[in-house]
């Protein structure tokens, strides 16, 4: 009962955060210079026609009224009409958003598997060659630009070795889960890179610290095999921070995916949002940002619930 109440409370907390996010995105859109209607129509419309269009979009109303209208559109009118594409925002973002989630999910899996693996290898070989080597890799990797890294991956694996496709989500002859997975590898790795390295560091640190802890010394003196020690006891102990980090990194991943999408031409909302920014499509930008923020909050909530569930002290 306690957990349920806790979850409900956390769900309620999302509302004020979303409110702040929506106000901020709305204001940032309005405060940047330039007029989307003039930008769209100045070429072949007269000032009077432009004024009429502005009225049709409600852009002549006081700012707070515009905001209220937009918020109600979020619930009832699919996020409002896109200024450039003239369709409800969520109709445009919907299919792309699913693609972004697929890429993010792939990133999370790669991040978790390889991050923990690298951390584990480095941690258990503390101060030995493998550790130094892994940490060099982590140091260099953390300073790479995702954009550049993506292009290098394309060059090596698609153009030189020709193992993997360069871009998009499906091959020209299309279809099949295997095909999509092949298309996911490179963008998934690029998206996961930074988070993966962060996770590797934390995992390594956790293992190193635990290896020096008293309980480990006790177990060791009792002759517990090393694999069992690491797998069962240290593993348990570092799981909550690892889950926490993964949760936080999912947020980073969702935003990072936007660049990765551009390099690999992944048909997700990143591409859409970059287009929208270029076209000053207020409603589309706002809708997209709110969607991303919502994801972030939901992931955070799920992480917290998982961490709580992993902690026996919080279980009844």
């Amino acid at each position: 009962m306690g957990t349920l109440k806790h979850i409900l409370w956390r769900l309620l907390n999302i509302v004020p955060v979303l409110f702040v996010v929506s106000v901020l995105t709305f204001l940032v859109g309005r405060l940047t210079p330039g007029d989307p209607i003039e930008a769209q129509f100045a070429r072949d419309h007269t000032p009077e026609q432009i004024e009429a269009i502005r009225e049709a979009y409600g852009l002549n109303l006081p700012v707070w009224e515009q905001y209220a209208k937009w918020v109600s559109d979020l619930f009832t009118a699919g996020g409002g009409q896109s200024i450039v594409q003239n369709q409800p925002v969520f109709d445009i973002l919907g299919p792309n958003f699913v693609n972004t989630l697929i890429l993010t999910a792939a990133g999370v899996v790669i991040c978790a598997v390889f991050g923990i693996l690298v951390g584990l290898i480095a941690g258990t070989n503390h101060r030995r060659f493998l550790d130094r080597f892994a940490m060099l890799f982590v140091q260099v990797g953390s300073n790479l630009s995702v954009y550049w890294f993506g292009l290098i991956l394309i060059w090596i694996f698609s153009l030189q070795l020709q193992w993997l496709p360069t871009s998009g989500m499906e091959s020209r002859n299309g279809g099949g889960l295997g095909d999509v997975l092949a298309h996911l590898v490179l963008p998934g790795f690029s998206a996961a890179l930074i988070s993966m390295l962060v996770l590797a560091r934390f995992t390594r640190l956790g293992i190193v610290q635990n290896l020096q802890a008293d309980y480990v010394r006790t177990f060791r003196s009792q002759g517990l095999p090393r694999w069992k020690l690491i797998g069962k006891h240290i593993g348990r102990n570092i799981l909550p921070p690892v889950v926490n980090i993964i949760g936080l990194e999912i947020g980073t991943l969702i935003t990072g995916v936007i660049f990765v999408e551009s390099v690999f031409n992944w048909p997700g909302i990143g591409t859409q949002l970059v287009n929208a920014v270029n076209g000053k499509d207020y409603t589309l930008i706002q809708g997209g940002v709110v969607l991303v923020a919502l994801c972030y909050l939901v992931v955070n909530l799920l992480t917290d619930i998982t961490v709580d569930a992993l902690n026996p002290r919080l279980r009844r």
Partner: protein
């Protein structure tokens, strides 16, 4: 949140550029297949297959009357056709006119009424009949406020050519006439263009789906029918089995949207697409060394600078002339564009039917520029204004700034993203704004009228107040003798040129790139291409 990311994006782009160079450098050494080996040996066209095209931007609505961007028309022209076509197998131009949905056309003696004989037995993709009534509904959609499907979005776009339309009339089932309030000899060629004109869509489609819904269910008479569109990803078309014209070779066309230049290049190199547009000049060598074809052309488009006439400084013709004298366009083409451009000295660009290769405005002469400025009352350093440009033209305007400095003109630079640039240059310029830079053009002589009314006049030029220019343009527009039309437009262009109304700059060399097995592609003297002649070798 978005703002910070954009800053990062710009920084990352710089890094990407560096790596792109690396990519290009590595590409040249690797890559086996020879350019001259297999290429054109098999010359019998083969039917079938899918052509995948990599577009550099998301096309706008696939709607005959709402066209915008050439990239849109490169897709939509496969679905929706006009009454008249241009022969796109001619790389030189001006392109010959060919019958499209009209088999022939004639003009009245006063050149105000055009009568088109329509092709019989043609059906739209949705099954409805193409006939004079269908043409009439297209005309009403863009001109008749009484029509239920009158489209306010299209009307301003078409106003430049259809503003003078008095009436469109169904003469009989397969004859349709347009009556204008003024003579309009150039009308058929205008009908063969991409934007601001009247390709024929299926009225049944907008009656069913509405004016906004048409673009999601585009229906025309073209060689390919619409299958699907995923915004941000792809548009798929398939061969129209009952096409009235010559059967195209390809079964399917897929247009993938790949805005990132390096990714688009990689997709072509990796064999995932067959044709890409907006190829960067620095990538040409990589492509050719790997056996890819890189057709080049100029596409009847050019870069030109326009004065902000709302800034009274430019009322003085001497100032305008001085600025033109101060810019070395040959050097601009050779140095800044590394020879990937040709200087242009007239507002009718190469490829236009009224292009005059001998036309010259004001040759590069810094001394003359200085003395003209002196006459106009400006000592060196006194004349100051702002050049406003799209960020894409950053290098060009910086180069211009240094040129102008040589003749004692101080130019500040403001570069903006595309939408903000349009809003400022065409909408509300700043008080000190002086020059802005645009790229456009056309194959038709009436282009001069278009650039004057939709660009230069938007920037405050008082056409009515410049009677000599106005009269010359009116005279060309009023021409009723087809043999004199081109001459009259040339004369009008001369008047415009002599008054230094705008500054033609350069026409950029444009590149497409094709996979090694693509055949039958021509870089026509315009800004789009004909895919019906394209086929894929084994």
């Amino acid at each position: 949140m978005k703002i910070g990311q954009l800053g990062r994006l710009a920084a990352l782009k710089a890094v990407a550029l560096a790596s792109a160079l690396l990519l290009a450098a590595c590409g040249t050494t690797a890559g086996g297949s020879g350019a001259d080996g297999a290429s054109q040996s098999d010359s019998t066209p083969r039917k079938g297959g899918t052509l995948v095209v990599g577009l550099y931007l998301e096309p706008l609505a696939l709607d005959p009357h709402r066209q915008g961007y050439w990239e849109t028309y490169r897709v939509s022209s496969n679905i929706i056709e006009g009454l008249v076509k241009e022969d796109l197998s001619d790389p030189e131009g001006p392109n010959k006119l060919l019958p499209g949905l009209a088999t022939e056309w004639k003009v009245s003696d006063d050149a105000k009424t055009w009568t088109f004989t329509l092709r019989k037995g043609v059906k739209f993709h949705d099954g409805s009949d193409f006939n004079a009534q269908a043409v009439h509904k297209n005309v009403r959609r863009v001109s008749d406020p009484q029509y239920e499907f009158y489209d306010e979005t299209s009307v301003p776009k078409l106003a430049v050519w259809f503003g003078d339309l008095v009436k469109g009339e169904v003469v009989d089932d397969y004859t349709y006439s347009f009556e204008f309030s003024k003579p309009f000899l150039g009308f058929p060629r205008i009908l063969a263009q991409a934007m601001s004109t009247l390709p024929i869509g299926s009225p049944a489609a907008w009656e069913k789906h509405g004016n906004d819904g048409f673009a999601d269910h585009p229906s025309g008479t073209g060689p390919y029918t619409f299958v699907s569109r995923t915004v941000g990803d792809r548009i798929v078309l398939k061969k129209n089995p009952s096409y009235w014209g010559e059967e195209p070779y390809l079964d399917e066309l897929v247009f993938r949207i790949i805005p990132n230049n390096q990714t688009r290049l990689a997709a072509l190199l990796g064999g995932e697409v067959d044709l890409i547009s907006y190829v960067q000049p620095e990538d040409v060598q990589t492509l050719e060394s790997r056996g890819f074809q890189v057709p080049t052309g100029h596409g009847a488009a050019f870069l030109y600078l326009t004065f902000n006439y709302k800034n009274k400084v430019f009322d003085d013709e001497k100032v305008r002339k001085a600025i033109i004298h101060g810019i070395d366009r040959q050097k601009l083409a050779d140095e800044l564009y590394n020879g990937n451009a040709k200087p242009v000295y007239s507002l009718q660009p190469p490829g236009n039917e009224a292009y005059d290769p001998a036309a010259r405005d004001f040759e590069y002469d810094p001394e003359k520029a200085k003395s003209l400025l002196k006459e106009a009352g400006y000592d060196p350093g006194e004349l100051t204004f702002t050049i406003v440009a799209d960020v894409a033209n950053q290098n060009t305007v910086e180069w211009l700034q240094s040129q102008l400095k040589n003749v004692g003109v101080t130019a500040d630079i403001v570069t903006l993203d595309r939408p903000n640039y349009v809003a400022r240059a065409f909408g509300t310029p700043g008080p000190t704004d002086g020059l802005s830079i645009d790229e456009y053009g056309g194959t038709y002589a009436e282009w001069l009228h278009q650039v004057l009314t939709t660009n230069i006049a938007k920037k405050g030029f008082d056409l009515d107040g410049n009677t000599e220019i106005k009269d010359a343009v009116e005279k060309a527009r009023d021409a009723t003798d087809p043999d004199k039309r081109i001459e009259l437009w040339k004369a009008a262009e001369t008047k415009v040129r002599e008054s230094a109304v705008a500054i033609p700059a350069v026409t950029l060399t444009k590149y497409y790139a094709l996979g090694p097995n693509v055949r039958g592609f021509t870089f026509a003297a315009t800004n789009w291409y004909d895919l019906t002649k394209v086929w894929l070798a084994k």
